[in-house]
Symmetry: C2
């Protein structure tokens, strides 16, 4: 798939809008989508051209079809299994974030080093000892980990995950992880995100691309 | 400030690297930064040119100076006060995320509608009834809210915040909020972020810009 990151991001936002529409709203215009996101109409139309058949007709886009095409194109139906590593506040919050599942992200289990947390169940997900991650990853065929441990344990946990066969780390810690080249890191940089928001303040701009 | 969003994001990541360096490491090369983030050396050098005096010298960049310049440029020291609206899992996790404060984001209080939560203290932050947000916002001069309520309450809460004088909403809900033009929204689109990660899978690319 060759859709630029910013377009992937915006298509997801368009999907949120479509999800929220009432059943009797059959069509939506690019102008309406653009206005809700405070972006340019032409941007919306350009983005939707990435879809094979966006359901465009005289009165706008056919809501159901557009939703379906975005789902297809972004692979929402293609479920990806993942582990959460770090059963603290953020890890638990993400475990309880049920929207992930609607978009194809399925959390199978959680891991921690804290014996008080091991064995507990968070939103149906059991917390295991981190030492078991390699075993469970290979048994369950999981290669994605969402890393939410405290800062000071981030690199250690990353080393451990790399050794356990994890290939993708979605990194929520404010640390840059040094990992072997075959492990991919996606830095969820909340601080950078906030700084973009506040630095943009003067301009009349919303964040519609990440 | 006219630094592009992606550069703001990467400068934050560079700062994470500098933060983690040992005291006896006085210099860092752009090659080292680039290698940790798996991006191009030339990209790092280009980004650092946005700083007034990056501390570049023959052996690399002077760590302390570079850190200081990034802080100055991105306004880490310029504290921004904010409220968290929604004292659930994600709201509590963000309230406990102490790194925010290091980067200038100061959470003063939390708000919820749930009487069981009102009056509790989360990491030193009191949870108030949402009906008090307008009063407290004007008394404490706060115009930023971090929105972490469940999806179904998101639009209602946003209406309420707009009416209470909040001007900036950092939106963690998977909803597109319809607000007056003078309220700015920054969508923290975790699902879009995950989809970018997994859609990029085939390519040998890390996420270094958001």
């Amino acid at each position: 798939m060759n859709i630029p990151d910013k377009v992937v991001n915006r298509l997801t936002l368009y999907h949120f809008i479509l999800e929220d529409m009432r059943d009797d709203e059959k069509y939506i215009s690019s102008t309406r989508i653009a206005s809700l996101l405070n972006i340019d109409d032409s941007q919306v139309r350009k983005d939707l051209k990435y879809l094979k058949n966006s359901g465009k007709c005289r009165v706008g886009y056919e809501v159901k079809q557009l939703k379906h095409r975005i789902e297809e194109q972004l692979g929402f139906k293609q479920t990806r299994d993942a582990f959460i590593v770090g059963a603290g506040n953020l890890g638990s919050a993400l475990a309880k974030y049920d929207s992930f599942k609607d978009y194809g992200l399925n959390i199978l289990a959680m891991f921690d080093k804290d014996s008080k947390k091991i064995g507990t169940i968070i939103n149906g997900k059991e917390v295991f000892d981190l030492s078991r991650v390699g075993n469970l990853a290979s048994r369950l065929n999981v290669d994605i980990a969402i890393l939410t441990v405290p800062k000071e344990y981030a690199q250690g946990a990353a080393n451990y995950l790399a050794g356990a066969g994890i290939k993708y780390i979605w990194n929520f810690t404010p640390c840059i992880l040094d990992v072997p080249r075959d492990v991919k890191i996606w830095n969820e940089n909340l601080i950078g995100s906030f700084l973009q928001f506040t630095n943009n303040e003067e301009e009349e701009e919303y964040k519609n691309d990440n």
